[in-house]
C-alpha cells in the first residue's frame, strides 16, 4: 500500500515527526517527572497521591462532572442543532441563536463563571429577583451549570455540521413509506447523527476533564476535581511531580472513553452521502412535541446567556460596578492603551495556529478514516493525547521539554503556536472523521477508477465534501486559540502575551471593569474573525461547491 502511495508515506513521516517533537517529547519528559524517583523507576509518586482520601475524592469528582457535562452539553447542543437545521424558524432567528450560542465559547471560561456568581452566587441578582434565599452555587452544581454553558456550543457546532451533510431525500423516503415523524426522527435522524453525538460526548468529556478554571472559581473546597488540584499543587506547593502524577490519573478515563468510542462506532455504517441521490429537497419537519421542547430549551438558554453577558457589557461601560453607574468609555481606553500588544499577539498567534492546525487536521483525519497503514490506531490516539491531558500539565511539560537544547523554544511565538495546534486541532480531526464517516468511499473509488490519482481524488472529491466539517473545526480552533488559558498561562512570556491572561490578571487585581472591557473586545474580535473566515472560505470554495449539493450556510451563525 505504502509503496503505491508515496503521498501517504510523506504525510506519515511529517505527521509522526511533528508528533515526536510536540507530543511525545514533552509527554516523556513528564513521564520522567512522574515515574522516575532518584534516577530509578518508581511508583512512589503515584502511591503518595492515591494515599490521600481528598485526591481520590477529586478523581471521583472529575469523573462525575465530566460525565454530567458531556451528557447535558450534548443534549442541549443537539436541540440547538435541530433548531437551526430542522425547524422552519426564520434565518434571522437562526442567526441569533447561533450567535448567542457562540458567546460562552468565545469568552474565557472564568468570565462567564464570574458573571454567573454575580447572578446566582450568594446575594446574587437573579436569586434576589426570583426570591430564592439559601442557594449555594459553589460546588458541583455551579461548576456543572457553568461548564455545560461553556461547552454545549462545541456539541452544537459538531452536530450541526453532521446534521447538515445528511441527505434530505432519506427523510422523504421515510415519510413516503408511511413512517410517523417521531419514527423518522428516532430511526433515521438520531442513528445517522450518532457519530456526531458520540464525538460530541467524547469532546465534552475531555474538555470538562481538563478544565481547571471553572472549578477553580466555582468548585469551592467541597468539590475538588483533579486538574484544579493538580494546578493548585503545582502553583501553590511548587510540586511538579505531584501535579504531574495527579494529571496522569486523568489519562485513564480519557483512554477509556476513547476505546469506548472505537467499540461503539467501529463496525457500523453511517453513510448517507453516496452520490447516488437525486436532487436535494428540504429536510422534513420534526414532530410537534419535539419542536416545543426545542423552543423552550433554546429560549431559556439563550435568555440566560444574554443575561450573563449583559452583566459583563454593563460592567465594562460604567465607572464602578454597582456603586457608580455613570456611563464611561474609560475602561476601553485603558484596554486599547495597555492591552494593545496583547491584542496583536493573540490575534497573530490564533491565525498562525488555525492555519497550521486545520491543515494538519484534514491530513490526519483523512488518513485515520480512509487509509490503511501500520500504526493507524496509535496515530489516532497520539493525536488526541495533548487534548486529553489537562492544559496545566501540557504547559508545564512544554516548559520542561523546550527550555533546554536541542530545541530552545521558551519565550517564543512557536511554543504558544505548538501548544495550541497540538491541543486543539483535535476538534478539527474529530469533525473531519465524523463527516468522512458519512461519505461513501465509493465516491472516491469511482474517482480512482476513472484514473485520478490519490492526491487528485483527495483534493477534488474528499476535501470539497468535508469542507463544512473543516470550517467548523477551523472556527473552533481559532476560538480556542483566542480564549484558552490553561496550557498557555505557563507559556506566555515577556515577549508574547495573551488577552486571556490579561483578563485573568485584571480579575485577580480587582479590576472588574477592565476585565469586562477586555472580554468584550475579545468577543468582538472573535465574532469579526469568525465572520470573515466564514465568508472568505465560502467565496474561495464556491467553484468547488457549486457542483456539490452541500450547503454550509446553516452551520450556525
Amino acid at each position: 500500500m505504502m509503496k503505491r502511495d508515496p503521498a501517504l508515506f510523506m504525510a506519515l513521516v511529517t505527521v509522526w515527526l511533528s508528533f515526536a517533537v510536540f507530543i511525545f517529547l514533552p509527554f516523556l519528559r513528564l513521564l520522567g517527572a512522574t515515574f522516575v524517583v532518584d534516577g530509578k523507576l518508581s511508583l512512589a509518586n503515584v502511591k503518595t497521591v492515591l494515599s490521600k482520601a481528598y485526591n481520590v475524592k477529586a478523581l471521583y469528582g472529575s469523573l462525575v462532572l465530566a460525565t454530567a457535562v458531556s451528557i447535558t452539553g450534548t443534549v442541549v447542543g443537539y436541540l440547538f442543532a435541530l433548531a437551526v437545521t430542522r425547524t422552519r424558524i426564520s434565518k434571522v432567528t437562526k442567526g441569533i441563536i447561533g450567535a448567542v450560542a457562540m458567546l460562552p465559547l468565545i469568552s474565557p471560561p472564568f468570565t462567564s463563571s464570574i458573571s454567573l456568581t454575580l447572578a446566582l452566587g450568594p446575594n446574587g441578582m437573579l436569586l434576589k429577583a426570583l426570591g430564592i434565599g439559601d442557594f449555594s452555587i459553589y460546588g458541583f452544581l455551579g461548576t456543572w451549570i457553568s461548564e455545560t454553558l461553556t461547552y454545549f456550543p462545541v456539541a452544537f457546532m459538531v452536530i450541526t455540521a453532521v446534521l447538515n451533510t445528511m441527505s434530505a431525500t432519506l427523510d422523504d423516503a421515510a415519510l413516503s413509506l408511511g413512517a410517523s415523524r417521531w419514527r423518522m426522527f428516532r430511526t433515521l435522524t438520531i442513528p445517522l447523527s450518532l457519530p456526531a453525538i458520540v464525538n460530541s460526548i467524547l469532546l465534552l468529556f475531555g474538555a470538562s476533564l481538563a478544565d481547571f478554571a471553572t472549578p477553580l472559581i466555582l468548585g469551592g473546597h467541597a468539590f475538588p476535581v483533579l486538574p484544579t488540584e493538580a494546578y493548585l499543587l503545582i502553583t501553590g506547593m511548587f510540586d511538579l511531580k505531584g501535579g504531574a502524577t495527579m494529571s496522569f490519573l486523568l489519562l485513564v478515563p480519557a483512554l477509556l472513553v476513547f476505546f469506548l468510542q472505537r467499540m461503539m462506532l467501529g463496525k457500523k455504517s453511517f453513510v448517507s452521502v453516496t452520490g447516488k441521490s437525486g436532487s436535494r429537497t428540504e429536510f422534513a419537519r420534526l414532530p410537534q412535541s419535539l419542536n416545543v421542547v426545542i423552543a423552550v430549551v433554546c429560549l431559556i438558554v439563550v435568555a440566560f446567556i444574554i443575561y450573563l453577558y449583559a452583566i459583563i457589557l454593563w460592567g465594562s461601560l460604567v465607572k464602578v460596578w454597582s456603586v457608580n453607574n455613570t456611563p464611561t468609555l474609560e475602561h476601553y481606553r485603558y484596554v486599547f492603551k495597555h492591552g494593545q500588544k496583547a491584542i496583536k499577539d493573540t490575534v497573530l498567534i490564533a491565525i498562525i495556529s488555525t492555519v497550521i492546525g486545520s491543515l494538519l487536521a484534514v491530513v490526519i483525519g483523512f488518513m485515520i478514516q480512509r487509509k490503511e497503514f501500520v500504526g493507524r490506531r496509535l496515530l489516532e490516539f497520539s493525536s488526541m493525547l495533548n487534548y486529553a491531558l489537562p492544559g496545566t500539565v501540557v504547559g508545564i511539560a512544554y516548559i520542561i521539554a523546550f527550555n533546554t537544547k536541542p530545541l530552545v523554544l521558551t519565550g517564543t511565538l512557536s511554543i504558544l503556536v505548538a501548544a495550541y495546534v497540538f491541543r486543539y486541532y483535535a476538534t478539527g480531526i474529530r469533525s473531519v472523521i465524523a463527516s468522512l464517516e458519512q461519505i461513501d468511499p465509493a465516491l472516491e473509488e469511482a474517482s480512482l477508477s476513472l484514473g485520478a490519482g490519490t492526491v487528485r481524488t483527495f483534493t477534488h472529491i474528499t476535501v470539497p465534501l468535508i469542507i463544512p466539517a473543516l470550517i467548523s473545526g477551523m472556527r473552533y480552533l481559532f476560538i480556542h486559540c483566542m480564549t484558552a488559558i490553561s496550557a498557555t498561562i505557563f507559556l506566555v512570556s515577556v515577549r508574547w502575551t495573551l488577552l486571556t491572561t490579561r483578563i485573568l490578571e485584571s480579575m485577580t487585581e480587582l479590576q472588574f471593569s477592565q476585565a469586562s472591557a477586555f472580554s468584550i473586545v475579545l468577543i468582538a474580535i472573535v465574532f469579526l474573525a469568525d465572520f470573515i473566515l466564514k465568508h472568505v472560505l465560502k467565496f474561495t470554495t464556491a467553484h468547488i461547491t457549486r457542483s456539490q449539493e452541500i450547503s454550509y450556510e446553516q452551520i450556525g451563525a
Binding site: L17, A53, N123, G236, L240, I399, I400, T410, E505
Partner: protein
C-alpha cells in the same frame, strides 16, 4: 500530484522550521532592556517601571504572575532563565526560591539603609515594601447583621458570619499563608489550627488569589475577609462602601521582595534595578502614586493615614522561618482544615 506534494512540503517546513526561525528572530540589546516576572500587580508595576525607565533609560519587559506561578516557572526555566529579575511578591517565595537555587546574590548599593528584617541575610533578595494583614468588611453586611467591624480574630467565629467569609486558599496565596503565620504568632501552632477549623465553618469560599475575595465583599456577595492592606485599600479607594479594621491580638506583615535571577542575561541592568529599588526614589514613587505599600526605607515619609501603623499591633516573624515552614504548614492546612471536615 504536484499540489499535494507542495502542500506537504509546506506543511513539513512549517512544522519543523517555524520554531527555530522565530526563536532566532528574537534578539535584543543587552544593556538597555530588562526582562522581569512581576508578582506586584500590573497596574502598579507599570507605573513603577515607567519611573525606572525615566531614571535609567532601561526598558523593562515584564509579565505578571501569581507568586506560585512565578516560582514554578523560575524553577522550570533554571537551565535557561527567561528573565533577569523577580519583582514584588512575598519574601517567603524568595526564600523558597533560594532553596531551589534560582536567585543570585546581590547586595544593592543602598541596602544598608533598609532594616535587617526587610532583606535577605545572605543578600539573595531585598525588600521593597511592607504590607500588614487587615480585616476588610462590607458596611451594608455589618449593618444588616447588626455587627461592629471585627476587632478580634475571634469575632469572625460569630455564627452571624455563617457563609459570609471569603479569603484566600493557603495553597495558592501568599496572603493566606501570612494569615496562618499571624495565627501561629498569636496562639501557637496547634491552637491556630484549631481556630482555623472553627473558622472554616463560616467560610463561603477560599479564593485562588489573595485579593480575590475583596470584590465579592465590595459587591455584597460576601461579608468579610482577611487581606493585605494594599489590596484592601485599593478596593476601598475605588469607591466601595467598605471598612478596614485590625485585630487587637495583632497581625504579621508581608515583606515584598525583589531579587536577581541566577543566570540573568542582562545582569548589569538587573543590578541597576536593585540599586534603584533600594534608594529613597522607589518609596517616593509609591507614595506619590498611591501604591499602598509601606516603604522599606524608614526615611521615606508616608502620607496616607491608613498606612500609619502606630496603633496597630504588628507581630514579627522572620522570613527565614516562613520559608522553612511554609510547605509543612500548607500541608497541615490541607490535612486538617480542608480534608478534616
Amino acid at each position: 500530484m504536484k499540489s499535494m506534494k507542495k502542500a506537504l512540503i509546506v506543511l513539513s517546513m512549517i512544522g519543523l522550521l517555524l520554531a527555530p526561525v522565530f526563536a532566532a528572530g528574537v534578539q535584543e540589546k543587552a544593556s538597555t532592556t530588562l526582562n522581569v516576572y512581576t508578582i506586584m500587580p500590573e497596574k502598579y508595576a507599570t507605573t513603577v517601571f515607567e519611573e525606572f525607565t525615566k531614571d535609567t533609560g532601561i526598558q523593562v519587559n515584564f509579565v505578571r504572575l501569581s507568586s506560585g506561578e512565578a516560582l514554578a516557572r523560575l524553577i522550570a526555566e533554571k537551565a535557561n532563565p527567561q528573565v533577569d529579575a523577580l519583582w514584588g511578591g512575598p519574601a517567603d517565595t524568595y526564600e523558597a526560591g533560594v532553596l531551589e537555587g534560582v536567585f543570585e546574590v546581590y547586595v544593592p548599593s543602598e541596602a544598608s539603609a533598609i532594616p535587617a528584617q526587610f532583606k535577605s541575610s545572605k543578600g539573595y533578595w531585598t525588600g521593597i515594601g511592607v504590607i500588614p494583614l487587615t480585616f476588610l468588611s462590607s458596611n451594608s453586611f455589618l449593618k444588616e447583621k447588626g455587627l461592629q467591624p471585627p476587632t478580634s480574630w475571634n469575632d469572625l467565629l460569630d455564627p452571624r458570619y455563617y457563609n459570609a467569609l471569603q479569603m484566600a486558599d493557603v495553597r495558592t496565596s501568599g496572603t493566606a499563608t501570612e494569615r496562618v503565620y499571624s495565627l501561629i504568632q498569636v496562639w501557637g501552632e496547634d491552637k491556630a489550627y484549631e481556630y482555623q477549623k472553627q473558622l472554616h465553618k463560616n467560610i463561603q469560599l477560599y479564593t485562588k488569589s489573595g485579593a480575590g475575595g475583596a470584590m465579592p465583599i465590595a459587591t455584597g456577595q460576601a461579608g468579610s475577609g482577611i487581606f493585605y492592606i494594599v489590596d484592601a485599600l485599593d478596593i476601598q479607594q475605588q469607591g466601595y462602601d467598605l471598612v478596614i479594621s485590625y485585630p487587637v491580638e495583632g497581625v504579621t506583615y508581608g515583606v515584598e521582595g525583589s531579587g536577581i535571577v541566577k543566570g540573568a542575561k542582562n545582569l548589569d541592568a538587573a543590578k541597576k534595578l536593585m540599586d534603584w529599588a533600594s534608594s529613597k526614589r522607589l518609596g517616593q514613587v509609591m507614595v506619590d502614586n498611591k501604591i499602598n505599600y509601606i516603604p522599606t526605607r524608614p526615611d521615606v515619609v508616608v502620607t496616607n493615614p491608613a498606612l500609619d501603623m502606630s496603633k496597630v499591633k504588628l507581630l514579627e516573624t522572620s522570613v527565614a522561618w516562613k520559608g522553612a515552614n511554609r510547605e509543612r504548614l500548607v500541608q497541615r492546612w490541607i490535612d486538617e482544615v480542608i480534608q478534616g471536615q
